[in-house]
């Protein structure tokens, strides 16, 4: 009961329970062998060798565990060890004695035992006792003074290891999440491919339409140019004819003015001028 109520410490490591029956065969083989050898040595001092051979032949393949092994994950180890008083005696001992002897029971037992050992000289006080006392006092002083600091330092080392591992795990999680997001984004992007092809088709359609319109316009322009040319030619011809005729008429008229007519016209002009000047003088 002493060992059983000590709070589920230090459960044996999982490997020997779970997956590897071969290793446990080996372990119990050796254990059993040692047990058998011990027993043989105790009872038959002469025939050890023969017993060794016989027993190792007979007991090679028997499993230690009879029932099915439980594969449940282990509960986590406790943070602190079991409570102890004076660094040596577990609290469960005091609780064990409390119903019968109360609070002072274990102390009385301890004092009685100590005095018994001293008085009956089961424990002999000699120079080693003094040495032990000195060493123990120094040790206990050292542990009490610096124990917590050393513990904190060791805990910090451990914490750092765990923190790096945790950082790695968190980075991995973040990386995976971003990767998933990227993939989803790429899928979304890919959905927009219809835009591209619509744009291409639009371009083609616009090009065709523009070319068609250009052709129509060219046709119109060409026809108009030709008609306008005809019209312009006609106008030009008409113009030229008119000019030529006017010129010809003028030339002929000038030619037809004889010197006689010229003299007569000059005399008439002079008479007219005199008359005009008379009328002008009279008005003044």
């Amino acid at each position: 009961m002493l060992g059983g109520t000590s709070g589920g410490y230090l459960v044996p490591p999982p490997s020997s329970e779970q997956g590897s029956p071969n290793s446990s065969y080996i372990a119990e083989n050796v254990l059993e062998l040692h047990l058998r050898v011990f027993v043989c040595c105790l009872f038959c001092k002469k025939l050890n060798g023969i017993f060794l051979i016989i027993y190792s032949i007979l007991h090679t393949k028997r499993a230690l565990h009879a029932s099915q092994q439980c594969l449940a994950p282990l509960p986590p180890l406790p943070e602190k060890g079991g409570e102890v008083r004076y660094g040596l005696i577990p609290e469960e001992f005091f609780q064990f004695l409390y119903p019968k002897t109360g609070v002072t029971g274990p102390y009385m037992l301890g004092t009685g035992l100590l005095l018994y050992f001293l008085s009956k000289e089961i424990y002999v006080v000699n120079h080693e006792t003094v040495a032990a006392a000195c060493i123990l006092s120094v040790l206990i002083y050292g542990v009490k003074k610096y124990g917590s600091k050393v513990a904190a330092f060791a805990d910090k080392l451990n914490e750092e290891k765990v923190a790096t591992a945790l950082a790695v795990k968190n980075d991995a999680i973040k990386g995976l999440e971003t990767a998933i997001e990227q993939e989803k984004k790429e899928q979304w992007r890919v959905e927009g491919r219809s835009y591209l092809f619509d744009a291409k088709r639009n371009n083609i359609a616009m090009l065709l339409e523009a070319n068609y319109r250009e052709r129509l316009l060219t046709v119109y322009n060409e026809v108009k140019k030709r008609l306008d040319y005809q019209v312009a030619m006609q106008h030009l011809k008409r113009q030229k004819e008119q000019d030529h005729m006017i010129q010809w008429v003028e030339k002929n008229v000038v030619q037809s003015i004889t010197p006689q007519q010229q003299k007569e016209s000059i005399a008439k002009c002079i008479l007219d001028l005199k008359a005009l000047s008379k009328s002008a003088q009279m008005t003044v």
Binding site: A179, Q187, S194, L208
Partner: protein, 161 residues
């Protein structure tokens, strides 16, 4: 005039631009400038050319029958529409793109499933404080020391220490 008006769909350039990844931005810009140039050219050309005033020309031009001949020939003229050779190619491209897209999306989904699986594994891991070394090797197989390949301590190449 039957096949002439191939429908010019309105494209949402803003939404299109959002979906373009950064390494294809230059191509997108080129496409957009080309498209804009084409639409500008189309807008500058009138839909129908102006009609010719045949009455005026008939009255003005002296040559007998020339205007009538022109008119007859002009109205009989059919301007050929440009033949569309490329739309089929674009459609073929689109089919191919759809196919490769489907493949890509499938591969992408497989990748996502894989990532989700790993994420699940990582999230459901026991905390490091409660792990033994064996649990650690199970969760992160790369931490396991290969004792067959490197039988002597430290069981990994010195450069990896």
């Amino acid at each position: 005039m039957a096949g002439r008006r191939a429908a010019i769909k309105a494209i949402d350039w803003a939404a299109f631009s959002e979906r373009v990844p950064s390494n294809q931005r230059a191509m997108f810009n080129a496409l957009k400038t080309r498209s804009d140039a084409l639409s500008a050219r189309l807008a500058s050309l009138p839909e129908k050319p102006p009609t010719i005033d045949w009455a005026y020309y008939k009255a003005t031009v002296a040559k007998a029958g020339m205007v009538d001949e022109f008119q007859k020939k002009f109205s009989a003229l059919k301007v050929p529409e440009p033949v569309d050779t490329q739309t089929a190619k674009v459609d073929a491209q689109e089919q191919e793109a759809t196919k490769s897209t489907a493949e890509y999306v499938q591969a992408s989904k497989a990748r996502i499933a894989q990532y989700e699986q790993e994420l699940q594994k990582l999230r459901s891991m026991i905390p490091f404080e409660q792990m033994t070394l064996e649990d650690l090797h199970e969760a992160f197989p790369e931490t396991k020391l290969d004792k067959e390949k490197y039988p002597y301590w430290p069981h990994k190449p010195i450069a990896d220490l």
